[in-house]
């Protein structure tokens, strides 16, 4: 088996010595990577003042850089990405066709107009470019600017896009990023960083990105690095254990932006059963929400509530929808969904057990680990709903929308809804229960970055929002003359 060799990137410098072995059976590969302890002292930015070079750039300079980088991230031309793909095929839960597709789409992520839209929608280019000034009711002039921060990103590895998104956000916000690569994707962030070095080693955006791998939970290392004197923000992606683990380092001066583990649901109204064509369309949309990226994303539907009713006719409808959804899922394009890499014996056993209880569950497929659609025959999800993965979804028949509200909670990220009218009727209520994104059925996995994420403005929160006030005693009565605080706010 090929011995993969990783490296460390520290602000424009590619380092590949002091190699030690990482990974193992659970990772899918073993790979050599520099001993992070040797470079621990160099990972943090020596002084915040060193970020000043970023402020010599205009936002257009940033976009120029992003555009140039995008053009160099073509998989066919980029040996670093090719190696990352090769390694990911061994480490990732995604299958090779899905991984290839994810790498093929990286250049779109680094598109000039796309980046501009993300920056403007999530932060506001004015605030990134300079001070945005307003006069307040009490007469003072306030100027607000979004500054970058020294941030550590503990990124998820379920898709190579996460590494790309992180690097893009770091550039847009003019931040300094240390990316801790995940064991299920140890090479993508490195590959992009190396491409940046080849492209422009001295560019400030190249020189404010570091990428390293260490074993998550390495307390000796993390205790030293996760300090307010080194970093201001930690962005921790998914995995309950990983987020929980990071919280112990949080202290005043060190902020956590937690992109918690989430799950997604779909809700289908009775209109789905209007006629055969509609049912086929709904099945295809639903199959996409379930099957896209092989259900590896938090955005993918797992439990699907269907307002079919629970009488005989209702069950007949939901079972038919399950059959159609299964067929549609199996026939999704290879770049969207494939037979999963590994179903795992526990889930297989759970699906089979449901199959053996056929009075309660109509199980379609799953005999070849290709994914399965389980239609409950009672209005309740399978007991193992939290373990649904690898293209195994559960359709649950309900009579009343109230039954759906009860299952939405703070872990619910995306709610894919059919038809549109139902989505508009539900969104105010389900938002209160915790739902974070509503979208048209079939679009759950079709993401945009130009919006808040997980009900927080994660890109905006990467910035430090600094205020500069100009107060003229002639306009704003000062405290030293007996001016009363807040009196002026009424204007």
């Amino acid at each position: 088996m090929k011995q993969f060799k990783a490296g460390i990137v520290i602000r424009g410098e590619w380092i590949q010595d002091h190699l030690v072995e990482f990974g193992g059976r659970s990772t899918g590969i073993t790979f050599l990577s520099p001993d992070p302890k040797q470079y621990l002292g160099r990972l943090p930015l020596p002084t915040p003042q060193d970020m000043s070079d970023l402020y010599k750039l205009s936002f257009d300079d940033v976009l120029d850089y992003i555009e140039r980088l995008g053009s160099r991230l073509k998989l066919s031309d980029n040996p670093y990405l090719q190696e990352a793909l090769e390694a990911s095929c061994l480490t990732s839960s995604l299958t090779p066709p899905l991984l290839r597709q994810a790498y093929e789409t990286l250049p779109y992520l680094f598109n000039r107009e796309g980046a501009r839209e993300i920056a403007d929608n999530t932060i506001g280019i004015g605030h990134l470019e300079g001070w945005v000034t307003k006069t307040l009711n009490d007469g003072r002039k306030v100027s607000i600017r979004a500054f970058g921060a020294r941030a550590l990103h503990i990124i998820a590895g379920n898709s190579p896009a996460v590494a790309g998104v992180t690097i893009l956000r770091n550039a847009i916000t003019r931040s300094d990023a240390i990316i801790k690569s995940p064991s299920n994707d140890p090479f993508t962030a490195l590959a992009i960083a190396r491409t940046m070095i080849d492209m422009d080693p001295n560019h400030p955006l190249t020189r404010h990105l570091s990428v390293a791998y260490w074993k998550g939970g390495d307390e000796a290392l993390e205790q030293k690095l996760y300090q307010p004197r080194h970093i201001e923000k930690i962005i921790a992606w998914g995995g309950f254990a990983s987020v929980k683990h990071v919280t112990k380092y949080i202290q005043p001066g060190l902020e956590l932006i937690s992109l918690d583990p989430k799950r997604s649901v779909s809700i289908i109204g009775p209109e789905a059963f209007a006629d055969e064509n509609t049912m086929h369309e709904v099945a295809l949309r639903l199959a996409t929400d379930i099957g896209a990226v092989n259900q590896e994303g938090c955005i993918c539907a797992r439990v699907v509530y269907v307002l079919s009713g629970t009488d005989e006719a209702g069950l007949k409808n939901i079972n038919r929808l399950a059959d159609l959804t299964y067929t549609a899922m199996i026939n999704l394009p290879e770049a969207v969904s494939t037979t999963p890499k590994e179903m795992g014996p526990e889930l297989r056993s759970l699906v089979n057990t449901a199959r053996f209880n056929d009075e309660w569950f109509h199980v379609v497929g799953g005999e070849k680990d290709e994914g399965a659609i389980i239609a409950s025959q009672l209005p309740e999800p399978v007991d193992f709903a939290s373990q649904l993965a690898n293209r195994v979804a559960n359709l649950v028949p309900v009579d009343d929308i109230e039954e759906v509200c009860a299952v939405v909670d703070a872990y619910t990220q995306t709610v894919g809804v059919y038809p549109e009218s139902l989505k508009h009727a539900l969104r105010d209520r389900l938002a209160l229960y915790g739902a974070q994104r509503f979208t048209s059925l079939g679009y759950a996995a079709y993401l945009t970055l130009a919006t808040p994420q997980d009900a927080i403005e994660s890109t905006r929160e990467l910035c430090k929002w600094v205020v500069c006030e100009d107060c003229d005693p002639a306009v704003t009565p000062p405290l030293w003359e007996g001016g009363e605080m807040f009196k002026g706010i009424a204007g």
């Binding site: 659970s26 309950f240 254990a241 590994e342 795992g344 014996p345 526990e346 056993s349 759970l350 089979n352 057990t353 449901a354 199959r355 053996f356 209880n357 309660w360 005999e367 409950s376 009672l378 209005p379 309740e380 007991d383 193992f384 939290s386 373990q387 009860a406 909670d409 703070a410 872990y411």
Partner: protein, 488 residues
């Protein structure tokens, strides 16, 4: 009176007759001449020969008469067992025993639950009228009254209970074997205990209930205490399965911030006063229990069986009250269950010895789903009884690893003892089994080396941690609080 056979050794025969299998399956201890030394000395070859013949018998007995097994075997087209490993695709996952929709309990559909359970046992339940049952307790007691079943439940944090279709014959074999498997010392042909042993038995929890130890209390009375009067439980009533389920759902809902969505059936709410009295009386009952130990039972030879954390707590409480070495030195403590989510103090064994005044502490490895109670030897290794066929499965595929040398992975077994339900089970435990190298203790049986971990722990994933009987009292109180809040 139990007798120890010194002459015939049918377990060593090359040709295993149908009669030998009958005898082994009916009473393994009797088959081995009521000798622990014989039971644990059988060389690998004859042991596996006996196990394979018995496994074939069990397979032909259940294939065609146990619907859940049939579906599993049909789906894989398995119609014969030629070697021990052939059974591994047919081992039940833990989900099988809780594969009913949880709403059946809420909606009192005990008729459907009974039909489901009947797919897992050859005992005919079709005649049992459960239509009047309004609680799990009702249902379990009805089945106990009308059939030979002694249904036993577990509870998971997911809020779903597993129901195991134990029967009386199986429990008789299990506890009835204790005078050999637990009272005897390996390698010593000492005096044989009578059956029943006729000694006082203590139990620091509820007299009855559906959790494994409470179910077995009836059989401890039958085979060890010899009479109800010699059985001393801390609390006289029944540990309610309904309250345990509510407790587990309460914890799951609290963890998710969804207590507002937890619903209580009117029937359970109506029993609030009963549970309150039970809860209120617990400190007084516990004090009386200690009084009984201090006065009536002091100096006597006693037997106690309970999970490790409960045993340690009992010793701790007793020592705090100044009670030391209160029982006879030939008393017997049977425990197991490891930490069960609670961390045992490093000196738990010393505390237990100090309180009880006896050195006979049998630490065992076992579980509600079967597989025997496998005693640890003086070297800390749990030796698997010959009635259980152990397997180590690859945790990623559940395919069996070679049964040679040392294998580490997911523990699974076929338990040959049950006559009316399938004995194959895949546990959630991750451990190392030594199949070949002899243990310094002299036993000739596969043994568990080192620590037993949860597979979920090893994989570092959340979920599926069991809310065990040992942690139940706290949860029970939480649930009662909630019940009061919700119905006041």
């Amino acid at each position: 009176m139990t007798t120890q056979s010194k002459t015939a050794k049918p377990w060593l025969n090359d040709d295993i007759t149908a009669a030998s299998i009958d005898q082994f399956l009916a009473d393994p201890c009797e088959f081995f001449g009521n000798s622990l030394t014989n039971l644990m000395s059988l060389a690998r070859k004859p042991r596996e020969r006996l196990q394979l013949a018995s496994l074939k018998r069990r397979f032909s007995q259940f294939r065609g008469s146990l619907p859940m097994l049939d579906k599993l075997a049909d789906s894989q087209n398995i119609n014969a067992i030629e070697q021990l490993e052939d059974v591994t695709p047919l081992l039940f996952g833990h989900s099988v025993y809780k594969s009913y929709p949880p709403s059946l309990l809420d909606k009192h559909r005990y008729d459907q639950l009974t039909v489901w359970l009947n797919k897992l046992t050859t005992i005919d339940l079709s005649h049992v009228d459960v239509s009047a049952c309004r609680s799990i307790d009702d249902w379990m007691l009805t089945l106990k009254r009308e059939t030979p079943l002694f249904v036993c439940h577990t509870s998971g944090t997911s809020g779903t209970m597993s129901f195991l279709p134990w029967d009386s014959a199986e429990c008789d074999k299990f506890i009835g074997g204790y005078p050999i498997t637990q009272f005897q010392h390996f390698g010593q042909d000492g005096p044989i205990e009578t059956r029943p042993v006729n000694i006082d038995c203590i139990y620091p929890y509820f007299r009855s209930g559906g959790i494994s130890h409470a179910v077995l209390n009836d059989f401890v009375i039958k085979h060890i205490a010899g009479s109800e009067e010699r059985f001393h439980a801390a609390y006289p009533g029944r540990l309610s399965a309904d309250m345990m389920l509510l407790a587990s759902r309460y914890r799951a809902a609290a963890a998710k911030g969804q207590l507002d969505r937890l619903q209580i059936s009117p029937e359970l709410a109506a029993r609030r006063a009963e549970f309150e009295i039970q809860q209120r009386d617990m400190p007084r009952r516990a004090a009386e229990f200690f009084d009984t130990m201090r006065t009536t039972l002091a100096g006597r030879r006693v037997f106690i069986q309970c999970a490790n954390p409960m045993l340690t707590k009992l010793a701790e409480d007793g020592l705090k009250q100044g009670l030391k070495k209160i029982f006879a030195p030939d008393s017997l403590i049977v425990t197991g269950g490891g930490g069960k989510g609670t961390v045992l103090p490093g000196n738990w064994r010393e505390m237990v010895k100090e309180f009880f005044g006896c050195d006979n502490i049998n630490n065992n490895y076992g579980m509600t789903e079967g597989g025997g109670f496998n005693r640890s030897c003086e070297h800390g290794n749990y030796h698997i009884l010959p009635g259980t066929i152990p397997f180590i499965l690859d945790p990623d595929t559940f395919k069996p690893l070679p049964r040679t040398g040392r294998a580490t992975g997911c523990y699974a077994f076929y338990d040959l003892l049950p006559d009316t339900h399938w004995g194959g089970f895949i546990t959630g435990d991750y451990l190392t089994m030594e199949f070949d190298a002899p243990c310094a203790c002299g036993r000739n049986a596969p043994y568990i080396v080192g620590e037993v971990k949860r597979l979920s722990e090893v994989r570092n994933v959340e979920g599926e941690e069991k809310l065990s009987c040992a942690a139940a009292p706290g949860a029970y109180a939480d649930a009662l609080d909630y019940l009061n809040e919700g119905t006041a």
